[in-house]
């Protein structure tokens, strides 16, 4: 196999990949705001009911929400991958350790493993288990001494998918029109090289159809200008779909480019794997930095401080209010007079959201009704 080298902006260097550096015309992406996720699993069930109700899909959650640090689906997936990868050293924003392609064992495309059946059996294992112990006399500080957070996950529709690179049959492809990564259900022969290679463990084997399946980014919705099921059903409004560009082509009026490249408030998940994943996370602001740095790379502190300052940052606040405000695909945004407006690909207005809700203060005692109020705002 030719030794191609590709540019990965998330680790700020070149790296080997089985195929040439060809980016799609548009790249599907999403931002998940971890600070707002309550692990209600509405996204999980929306996805489950839409896509994985069939035989052989019983154990599948293309979308899942796990508690970190002790929750996993499949069991210990990231801990195992990090261990297989070896030391992961960053020098500034440049990753000096090995990507999964560089750490590939002899004769293989990528480093990886196939989870066992029982590893998938408890999708909500470790739920709400916090890290750390409470000492006598402890009180809440920030970052929290005892912490956990929820990590919602779908396929990252990576720029350099390991599943695609590892498939010996070229049964996995990345769509030119939107960068969505799909398993050709007709071509797949069930070798599970993709299951082994995907470090996020988001390609799953269907034992009934004997082939691999994965998140399809709800492409039938996207093709109609709509956001995915997991995004639009999110009751916490933590998610936003959109197109993402490379940093050099970042468009300040594109909500995703703005949050990822300009404000640098959203970060990729485990960028050190080297896949250039396209689901970005606003890291949890109350959590010990070493853990989140390992998970989201060296941009964590900058992201947290930008997010903490959002109430002073009109544009940032505006984009964040667009999360969950429309089921349509927001390609551009504008901020004016305390209002954030979202537009589609053709510039048509989709939604107008007030950035601050008006506040009404009512008297504690209502003279007319002769009652006291518990809630006056």
């Amino acid at each position: 196999m030719a030794k191609n080298r590709v540019k990965n902006w998330q680790i700020q260097r070149d790296m080997p990949y089985p195929y040439e550096d060809v980016r799609p015309a548009k790249q599907f992406a999403a931002i998940f705001d971890i600070n707002k996720c309550i692990a209600c699993q509405t996204c999980t069930m929306a996805c489950k009911h839409t896509w994985t109700t069939g035989k052989g899909q019983e154990y599948m959650f293309w979308n899942n929400v796990e508690t970190k640090p002790y929750g996993f689906y499949p069991l210990a997936w990231d801990v195992k991958m990090l261990e297989l990868l070896g030391p992961q050293k960053w020098e500034g924003k440049v990753y000096k350790g090995k990507t999964i392609f560089e750490a590939a064992p002899k004769g293989q495309v990528a480093q990886g493993y196939i989870p066992e059946e029982r590893d998938w059996a408890h999708p909500n294992i470790g739920e709400d288990e916090p890290y750390g112990a409470i000492d006598k006399g402890d009180y809440i500080t920030s970052p929290h001494k005892v912490w956990h957070f929820y990590l919602p996950r779908i396929c990252n529709h990576c720029t350099y998918p390991a599943c695609l690179g590892a498939c010996p049959r070229k049964a996995i492809y990345k769509r030119e029109e939107d960068g969505i990564v799909l398993v050709d259900q007709n071509r797949c022969r069930g070798y599970r090289e993709c299951v082994r290679a995907c470090p996020y463990k988001k390609v799953l084997f269907n034992n009934t159809t004997r082939i691999a399946e994965k998140c399809i980014a709800c492409y039938p919705l996207i093709e109609q200008g709509q956001q995915t099921q997991c995004v639009t059903t999110c009751i916490g409004r933590i998610r936003l779909n959109g197109w993402i560009h490379t940093p050099d082509k970042a468009d300040p009026s594109n909500p995703l480019d703005y949050l990822v490249h300009i404000k640098k408030v959203a970060l990729p998940l485990y960028p050190q794997f080297g896949l250039e994943p396209n689901i970005y996370y606003i890291p949890p602001i109350h959590i010990s930095a070493p853990y989140t740095k390992q998970m989201f790379g060296p941009g964590v502190e900058q992201a947290v401080s930008a997010y903490r300052n959002a109430h002073n940052d009109e544009a940032l606040l505006g984009v964040l209010t667009l999360f969950g405000s429309t089921e349509f695909w927001v390609s551009k945004f504008k901020i004016s007079k305390d209002t954030a407006t979202g537009y589609d690909d053709k510039g048509k207005e989709l939604v107008k959201v007030p950035m601050r809700e008006p506040i009404f203060i009512r008297p504690f005692f209502d003279e007319k009704l002769q009652v006291y109020r518990h809630n006056i705002t």
Binding site: G54, G107, E117, P168, R169, N186, E193, N207, T209
Partner: protein, 333 residues
């Protein structure tokens, strides 16, 4: 030659192993005649032995002879007819040409036998395997074996590893999990309409009618199921017993599809092998393979051709033995 024999005899006389040598020294004239016969017999036997060894080595090393029989060819690996044909042992080596590669495997060889009845051909392939891997699971893989032949359309002998762009190969793949699936009446109840692989018409996903898949390929990663050609007509059966797989493949000698292999009575066709060990995670390119061998189909006429040298050998060997006996007897008298 004469001198050498004499020399060797004199050496043996000096070496102490002389007890069996008759004490009388034969008269010179007679002795010379006896020496001549001995030399002739020795040379004759030596030459026959060499020829036989070469012949055996050649046929055992490269050609699977399909024995011609009458009647139906057995699908049962334990059928008595399988005692007839000669067994050819094929060494297998890990596949290291394309990623993902394999470097180690406990499967080192397989044994193959073949039968034909002028309309059908059957192969019995056997190999040692400590575990029976015949159930599919998220991280479990199937034991499997494949026979590879050049397609009828191939102009030249294809590359042994999955064929090449110009020359297609025809591969018959048996999988233990497919045996299990095809043996059970209902693979799964179709209660849900949404079964991706089935809707996408993927032959891997559909209920299996046979444990054997008819494949064509033009290089690594190009294996294509010929299910749609409607002539997926290879019958198969298998048995795992005493840590050994026995798999039978059976098909008509000829096929109307140009991508299938066609056999001819009296003809010779290249054949190559691959084995997958499920418990080692073997699948796809992770396998042990052989290079090209040949399968030859016995004919009626050829059978007699094979018998003549044997008869000639027996007759001449008998003549020589008789001659030696006569001379000895005359000498002893």
């Amino acid at each position: 030659m004469k001198t050498r024999i004499q020399n060797s005899e004199s050496r043996s006389q000096n070496s102490g192993y002389t007890a069996h040598i008759p004490p009388q020294i034969p008269p010179p004239r007679r002795g010379r005649a006896r020496e001549g016969v001995k030399v002739f017999a020795f040379c004759y036997l030596f030459c026959i032995l060499i020829l036989l060894m070469v012949g055996v080595a050649y046929s055992q090393g490269l050609v699977v002879m399909a024995k011609k029989v009458s009647g139906e060819l057995p699908l049962d690996p334990a059928h008595g007819l399988w005692k007839g044909p000669a067994t050819l042992e094929i060494p297998l080596a890990p596949q290291v040409m394309a990623k993902p590669r394999t470097y180690e495997s406990p499967i080192k060889n397989l044994r193959v036998r073949a039968l034909h009845n002028s309309t059908e051909i059957a192969f019995l392939v056997e190999w040692d395997d400590q575990t029976e891997d015949s159930s599919l699971d998220l991280n479990k893989f199937s034991d499997a074996v494949a026979l590879e032949f050049p397609s009828a359309s191939a102009a030249a002998k294809p590359h042994f590893a999955m064929g090449d762009r110009e020359n297609t190969v025809n591969i018959w793949t048996w999988k233990a999990t497919w045996q299990t699936a095809s043996d059970s009446e209902k693979m799964y109840a179709s209660v849900d309409d949404f079964v991706g692989g089935v809707l996408a018409d993927n032959p891997i996903s559909k209920p299996r009618k046979s444990p054997i898949e008819n494949i064509i390929a033009q290089g690594f990663g190009s294996a294509t199921d010929m299910e749609k050609s409607e002539i997926q007509n290879i019958a198969g059966n298998s048995k795992w017993e005493s840590k050994k797989w026995s798999v039978v493949f059976r098909r008509a000698l000829t096929s109307p599809d140009k991508f299938d292999v066609s056999f001819k009575e009296g003809g010779v066709t290249p054949i190559a092998f691959a084995v997958w060990n499920g418990s080692d995670g073997d699948r796809g390119g992770r396998k042990v393979v052989s290079t090209w061998y040949y399968v030859g189909l016995e004919t009626e006429e050829k059978k007699t051709i094979y018998i003549y040298p044997v008869i000639a050998f027996i007759v001449s060997a008998g003549l020589v033995a008789g001659l030696i006996f006569l001379i000895r007897k005359r000498r002893g008298a």
